[in-house]
Every structure is written in C-alpha cells, then in structure tokens.
C-alpha cells in the first residue's frame, strides 16, 4: 500500500496570507492545502493523512488554540506550527505548553518556515512509523494462545526452560515447542528483541486483555 504524500495544511483566516503561503510552499515543492477556518479544517482533515499544520493563532469563530485542543482531544498527532502576530506571544506560549511543535512570528523569513516545516514533517513521519510498528507488533501478539502468553511472560523474566517447565507443570519439551511458537509468531530474531517488543506494548496488550 502506497503512503499518501505528506501535505502542509495552512489554516489562516486571511486570504492574502493563505494564498501567499501556498505560493511560497509550492515554489519549494511542498504539497500545500489551504483552509480558511479551523472548522473547515476539522471537517475535511483525514487523520490518516500525514503532514503538518501551519496554523494562525488568532482567528474568528475558532482560534488556533482551540483547534489545537480539538486535535489533542481527537488524538491527532499532526505537528502544529503556530504563526502569530506581534501581540500574541502569550498565546504562543500557551500553545507550546499544549504540545505545539513550534511557532513563528509574522512576517517571517521563508527559510525559517521551510526549515520548521521540514522538521515537523520528519517528526510526523517518525510518529506515524512508530505507531505503525506498534500496531504491527500488537497484532502479532494478539495471535498468541493463553498458554503461549504464559510462556512469553516467563521468557521475558529470563527463566530457563527447566524452571518454566516446573512452573507450568509441563515437560521441557512442551516448553520448547511453546517457546518456538512465541518466537515465530512475534517475529523476534532474539530474546533481547522480544523483550523490547513486549516493553513497547501497553500492559493490557501484553496479556491480551
């Protein structure tokens, strides 16, 4: 499956600013989509679309800060770069406290904006890759049987086969078979990697709850 191309979303209520940003970003080859309001953005943005958001802090109806909060509530991971006027520093500080990626003051040097966008896109790609990897691992662990989960738990504690067999009241041979299944299903190349995968999962995902 091909990934959609990362897109820079520009949300600004000022048409001239919006269009000039689209012109600028396209001139450096960044796919850009502009929207006139936060509501418009929320209505059209597909969460699976990678990219970043360049957001004006001060807008009528729904401010940039409110949009950021909405995105946080929806669990959207899109990095947000705030664009502010001179008087809006307190707002920018608040935005950063709520996890904004960065902010810039209008008017700005094009290179400053482009650098930040590039960093934001890289961060988004990393977040999405990590989420995907996590998902992949989770789905693999879901295929483990209850018994295999028990073996997995003991394996990650570093218990030798003999101890495991005693703990579970089965033969060493049976433990070995379960062990092999766990390694195979998880796709881990080594015990160390298996442990890392398990650490990456939430407790309820490990036990299959």
């Amino acid at each position: 499956m091909r990934e959609p191309t990362p897109t820079v979303f520009v949300v600004d209520d000022d048409e001239a600013v919006r269009n000039s940003l689209r012109f600028l970003l396209r001139s450096v080859g960044l796919p850009t989509q502009t929207l006139a309001s936060a509501t418009e953005f929320l209505a059209t943005y597909p969460p699976s679309q990678p990219g970043c958001l360049v957001l004006d802090v001060r807008m009528p109806a729904m401010s940039g800060l409110e949009l950021q909060q909405q995105l946080n509530l929806r669990g959207a991971t899109l990095p947000v770069i705030f664009v502010t006027g001179h008087g809006d520093i307190p707002m920018a500080v608040e935005a950063m406290q709520h996890g904004a990626f960065d902010f810039l003051q209008k008017p700005f040097r094009d290179q400053d904006l482009i650098d930040r966008i590039q960093k934001a896109l890289a961060k988004d790609a990393k977040t999405r890759a990590a989420l995907k990897e996590h998902d992949r691992i989770r789905r693999r662990f879901e295929t483990l049987t209850p018994r295999e989960r028990e073996v997995l738990a003991l394996m990650t504690q570093g218990k030798p086969n003999k101890v495991m067999a005693a703990d579970l009241g089965v033969s060493q041979r049976t433990v070995e078979i379960h062990r092999a299944r766990v390694m195979e299903k998880s796709g881990a190349a080594s015990l160390a990697q298996l442990v890392r995968m398990v650490m990456d999962l939430a407790p309820e995902e490990r036990t299959g709850g």
Binding site: N19, F23, G85
Partner: protein, 266 residues
Amino acid sequence: MTRVAGAAGPPGPPPPDRDATEPRAPSGALHGRMLQVSRLATIGEMAAGIAHELNQPLTAIANYAQACDRLLGKPGADPRDLRTALREIAAQAVRAGEIIRRVRTLARSQPVERSAADINSVIGEILELMQTDARVHRARLLLELTDGLPQVSIDRVQIQHVILNLVRNGLEALSGSGSAGGEVRICSGRTGGDVEVAVCDNGPGVLPQELERIFDPFFSTKPSGTGLGLAISNTVVRAHGGTLAYRPNRPTGACFYFLLPHETAE
C-alpha cells in the same frame, strides 16, 4: 414620549437587559497596565489591532517576494508565476496603505469640542441623512424620543458619527438577512442618572460566538466591512465618559445602546 418619522410602529423597545454585553476589556499584562487610564486602554487596543492588521499584508508581501526570489533562482522560471506574485505584492501594498489611511481617520476621533446639547436635537439633525440611508436599504426608520432629558456635554459631530454608525450597521444587518419588514429604531431615554440612546433592529442579531469580538478593531463579518465602526464608536463614547454596549433585541435583532453621563466630569 415624542414620536417622529414613521411613528406608527410596534410598541417600544424592551427594557434594558441586565445580561447586556459591554465591550470586552483588553487582555494581557500590557493592556492591564493601560487599563488604569481607560482612554489609553482603548487606544492601546486599537494599536494592537492595527499592528495585527498591518502584519497580514506585510506577511503576504514577504512570502510572495521570497517565493519570487526562489523561483528566479531556478532555471526556467515561468514568468506567469512571477507576474501573479508581483501583482499580489502590489495589491497587498495598497491594502497596507488603506489600513494606514483608516488609522488616520481613527486618530482624528479624539474629542475636540464639547458643549451642552440636547440629545434629541443631536439626533434630529442627522435624521434626513439616516432616512435616506434607510430608503436605500428598503427599511423603516423609527424614532422614539423621550422629552425633557437632561443636557449632555458632548462633541456633537462625534456622537452623531456614533449614531450614524449604529444605524448603518442595523440597516446592513437587515439587508443582509434579506427579509421584508426591516426596521431600525432609535430611542432616547434615561437610565439612572445617564442619558441613553439605543439603536435597535429586527435583523438576525449578533451570533453569541461573535459577541466578544464585535468591538475589536477590524473585526467584521461583512465581505467589505472595515470592522472599525463599533471600535471607533466605542472609543468616542468612552472618551465622553460613557459606555457602549450590546443587548439582544426582542423577539429578534440587535440593540446597541450607549449611556452618556449628563454631567461630564472634567
């Protein structure tokens, strides 16, 4: 109560609501300090609004100019792209100039000449002007003036500007809603020790989410609005020691009213 100009209308306006909204106090530490001198606070707000507004065309100009620079650095730049950007730059420079021109008008709105006046005659002097305006908007202008009001110490022309602004807004709200039977009502009366002038219409009223911004300079929901009418009116009324505020009209519409102290403390 004296009724003038199209007096036969529905009964008078509802009594003032207590949930009326006054212009939002300026926010931020800087504004907090300025708040002590109320007139300065308003000018401070204006300045912040103007700075913000000027920033928009400047940002656009900077973006287009930098993009042109980049395009020219690449071989085979399309002159049409460059022309688009250059035209936008010119348009945005004109927009910035327009903002500065408006600021000059703003700067002139400081009280100059105050004298004792009867508010009803102040309104009477601009009646014809407002009626012409109303006709253009196909709306009725109604007056409900209370007799025997105390005199107020005002800059006549400035207060007339305020009333004109409020009436114009009412008429624009009516023509925006496009329904027949639109009315704007100007009332004078007494509230406590103050003289009150209210301009009410039966248009759509102000949306709750826009309420706290309508007095902000440059806030406008009209395609070609300046967003300065209420901001300037507010400055003028406050400079007179009065207050300008909004309350919803009943059953529908907007009601902007201002209070003037009948004896201005100098």
